[in-house]
Each structure stands twice: as structure tokens, then as C-alpha cells.
């Protein structure tokens, strides 16, 4: 079928979602008031906006994730030909993973994986 399928599926998803939202918009009627428009915080008055600086405890994980994700991108083509190339592929990936894993252990030692 080719890549046209992806465009078709994308359009199908858009039509499906937009259709659902449009139908519900026709069927319902809305009202607005001050309390209704506020962000939900379990019934107590909303304490300020959520768009402020706060400490995201996961950013170090995100950085390490980036390294491993790039490693995965390298590994996909490797995995396809690993069987054909033979022992050489295993040795090369061992070197690659060794360097990567040393970096991972370094991050671990430095406390990047510790919960703050």
C-alpha cells in the first residue's frame, strides 16, 4: 500500500476525534462562570498558576535516557545484520556497550540515579 496508508490513518484519526468532539458539542450546551473556569484542586480555591519554576526530579534521568535512546538507534541496524556478520559484530558491540556502560556506572556513582 505504501506510505499513503499512514496519511490515510492520520486523516482517519483526525476525522474520528474531530467527529466525536463535534457530535458532543452539538448534543451538549455549556455554561460558564468564574468558579467553573478555575483549575480543579479538590474543591479548595486554586493556588496560583501551574506555569512556574519547580524542581523536576527527573531531568537527570531524561539526560541518561537520551544517551541510551541514541544507543538504541545505533543498535537497530546492528541487530539486523549481527547474525550475518558473525563474531565481529559481537566484539564490536561489546566494545560499544562497554564504553556506554562505564558512562552509566559513572553516572550512577555520581548519584544521578538517586532520588532527590
Amino acid at each position: 500500500m505504501g506510505s499513503g496508508t499512514l496519511i490515510t490513518l492520520m486523516l482517519a484519526a483526525i476525522v474520528f476525534s474531530a467527529g466525536g468532539i463535534a457530535v458532543s458539542k452539538i448534543l451538549t450546551k455549556g455554561s460558564t462562570n468564574l468558579q467553573k473556569g478555575q483549575a480543579y484542586e479538590c474543591g479548595v480555591p486554586t493556588a496560583g498558576s501551574a506555569w512556574k519554576q519547580f524542581n523536576v526530579g527527573y531531568y537527570l534521568f531524561a539526560l541518561i535516557f537520551l544517551i541510551f535512546e541514541v544507543e538504541m538507534v545505533f543498535m537497530f541496524p546492528w541487530a539486523v545484520v549481527a547474525k550475518k556478520v558473525g563474531m565481529l559484530a559481537l566484539v564490536e558491540i561489546l566494545v560499544f556497550v562497554f564504553i556506554l556502560f562505564m558512562g552509566f556506572l559513572y553516572a550512577h556513582k555520581k548519584g544521578a540515579l538517586k532520588w532527590m
Binding site: 476525534s17 451538549t28 480543579y40 501551574a50 538504541m72
Partner: protein, 358 residues
């Protein structure tokens, strides 16, 4: 013999005999779109109903049983209820992103259906990098979740989205490694070839212990990736109300909900394809009679059976394990699953190169 493969081939022949090239493509595309939408809606209804019935069964209660016989129309009624609810946008929200987020999540879920082989030679687009496509596209859905959480301008939503993001990106690595473990054996990323390579036995059985370890890691990782209990930190009801979709109501909430269940189906379908042989029937070595009987069961039934079995396992998890804390969750991934899956992959490579597998 009637099979999905023959039906799609005869439709193609019928159309191309009577119409021009462009018209055939257009009609086929619209059939695909209609089928995909139908599949989406049906899967949503079935999976939500299944979830409630399985929960009820595990907790020794009846579950939904009022609407229709045995309560099978319960989810239809719920959908109508959701359609009748007001789709509300909070005043403080970023209106554009708030409205865009459900679309992003839905488009990703829909596009993931493309390479999956539902039956013998029956996939929407059997592209040669099928598995890689699924891994790549499924990681985009985290953007939709972060978008929803941030645009709501609600502190619960933002925290839920951040947690969800951390969790999805962490577990994606182990899931990818588990997938790679099988790719090393098959030497191809194309779904049809992966399935064909299992015609004499499923990789779960042929690949020795590393395949079993990879399978277990894959199931754990996808449970976390789809934000399901025991890893449902993103929408831990008791602490973050609804997580990233706290502010969503009506149809937009329904879309998130639907996409979540479709994602469960997709990851289970991929798991079934990689480890349990996709649409391949179950064969036992030299038992000719038994194998012959198994061949009579249609390939689509095999595929759906395996997929729904995996979905059942994931639903079973929900009522068996208590919820993890966020730091325990990240520890589990980074200190246990990641090193194990990395070494498992290397071990499997050795087995594949030496030809020790069956």
C-alpha cells in the same frame, strides 16, 4: 477457504478490473480508513468492558450486568454518556494546546496500527522497518501527554504529565532492548518476516532462557509504558486525582481513554508477534495430527487469541501488585531492568551467532 487474505485480494481484483488506478487507490484508502475507525471504536468498547469484567472476576463480584445481556452494552452506554457531557476548557488553560493534545495521542495510536499483521498476509502496510517504526512512533505519544499536562494549567496535571513522561521514556529503553533481542535472532525488522521465522516454533520457546527473560522484561516495560497499574503513577488517584487528564472532560477525556486502551492492544500485539509467533498456529514437533488440527483454526483467531491473552495478563497485574512509588519505579528500571536487558541482549547475540538456538 475464506480468509482475510483472500477477501482483501478479491476486493483488490474486483476494483482494479473495473476502475482506473487512482480510483482504486482512493477507494481502498477509504476502506482502510473506515476499517481502522471501526476497529478503534470496537477495540475501545471491548477492552473497557473486558477490563471491568476481569476486575470483577478477580475480586469475586459481578461487574457490569444491567445494560444488555451480561452487561455487554455497558461501555456503549458509557460512551453515550461521555458524548453528552460538556467538553469544558478551563479559563487558565492554553486553549490551542489543550485542544490539540487529544488529537496528537489519537493520531499516534492510529498510526501504530499500520504495520501490525492481523492475519496471514493481512496488514495495512507491511513496511520493511515495521518494528522500528512502532518503537519510534510510540515514543512520540509522550509529547501528547506532556502537552495535555502542561496546557491544562493545573498543578496535578503538570506533575502527572512529568511523572508519566519520566516513566514512559525510562521503560522505553528496556522495551526496545527486549525487542532487539528478538531482532538479533530474526535478522529482519519486517513484521511478516518475523512471523515467518517462527513457523517451526515461537521465539519464546526457541530462544532458550534469554528469550524468556526478554519476554518478561518486555511485559513489565510495556505495562509501565502504557501507564497501567502497578505503574500507574501518572494518574495515581489518591495523590494526583486524574494525572495529566484531570482537567479533561467529555469527549476529549474519552479520546485519551480510548488511546490508552488502543496502546495496550498495540503493545500486546507486538509482544504476541515477536515472542508468541503472531498469527502462526501452535505446533508441537512431530505430532502431525495435532499440528494439522491446529492449522484449521484461522490465523486471525490465533493472533487475536494471543494478543488478548497478553492483555488479560496485563489486566491481571493490576489486581495483583500494589502501586510502586516513583523512586522505586525509576530504581527498578535503571538499576535492574536496564543492565539485565543489556546483558541479556549480548548473551542472545552470542547464542544467535553460534547458532545455539533451535
Amino acid at each position: 477457504m475464506i480468509s482475510l487474505e483472500n477477501i482483501s485480494a478479491s476486493i483488490h481484483q474486483l476494483l482494479s478490473a473495473n476502475l482506473s488506478q487512482t480510483a482504486v487507490i482512493l477507494i481502498e484508502m477509504s476502506i482502510i480508513a473506515l476499517l481502522a475507525i471501526t476497529l478503534f471504536a470496537l477495540l475501545g468498547l471491548i477492552l473497557v468492558f473486558m477490563e471491568r469484567k476481569v476486575s470483577a472476576w478477580i475480586q469475586i463480584r459481578l461487574g457490569p450486568n444491567r445494560v444488555g445481556p451480561k452487561g455487554i452494552f455497558q461501555t456503549t452506554a458509557d460512551t453515550i454518556k461521555l458524548a453528552l457531557k460538556e467538553g469544558f476548557v478551563p479559563d487558565g488553560a492554553d486553549k490551542f494546546l489543550y485542544k490539540l493534545a487529544p488529537f496528537v495521542v489519537m493520531i499516534i495510536a492510529m498510526m501504530l496500527l499500520a504495520p501490525i499483521a492481523f492475519a496471514k498476509n493481512f496488514a495495512m502496510w507491511d513496511l520493511n522497518i515495521g518494528v522500528f517504526f512502532i518503537t519510534a512512533i510510540s515514543s512520540v505519544s509522550v509529547i501528547g501527554i506532556l502537552m495535555a499536562g502542561w496546557a491544562s494549567n493545573n498543578q496535578y496535571s503538570l506533575l502527572g504529565a512529568m511523572r508519566s513522561g519520566a516513566q514512559i521514556i525510562s521503560y522505553e529503553i528496556s522495551a526496545g532492548m527486549a525487542i532487539l533481542t528478538i531482532i538479533v535472532l530474526t535478522g529482519s525488522l519486517q513484521i511478516s518476516e518475523i512471523v515467518n521465522s517462527q513457523s517451526n516454533g515461537w521465539w519464546l520457546f526457541k530462544g532458550h532462557i534469554p528469550a524468556v527473560i526478554a519476554f518478561v522484561i518486555y511485559i513489565i516495560a510495556v505495562t509501565a509504558e502504557t501507564n497501567r497499574a502497578p505503574f500507574d503513577m501518572a494518574e495515581a488517584e489518591s495523590e494526583l486525582t486524574g494525572g495529566f487528564h484531570t482537567e479533561y472532560s467529555g469527549m476529549r477525556f474519552a479520546l485519551f481513554f480510548l488511546a490508552e486502551y488502543i496502546n495496550i492492544f498495540i503493545v500486546c500485539a507486538v509482544g504476541a508477534t515477536l515472542f508468541l509467533g503472531g498469527w502462526m498456529p501452535f505446533h508441537i514437533g512431530a505430532w502431525e495430527g495435532f499440528n494439522h488440527i491446529m492449522d484449521f483454526i484461522p490465523s486471525s483467531v490465533w493472533f487475536l487469541g494471543k494478543t488478548f491473552f497478553l492483555i488479560f495478563v496485563i489486566m491481571w497485574f493490576r489486581w495483583t501488585f500494589p502501586r510502586l512509588r516513583i523512586d522505586q519505579l525509576l530504581n527498578l528500571e535503571w538499576k535492574y531492568l536496564l543492565p539485565i536487558s543489556l546483558f541479556n541482549l549480548l548473551f542472545m547475540t552470542l547464542i544467535a551467532i553460534k547458532g545455539w538456538h533451535f
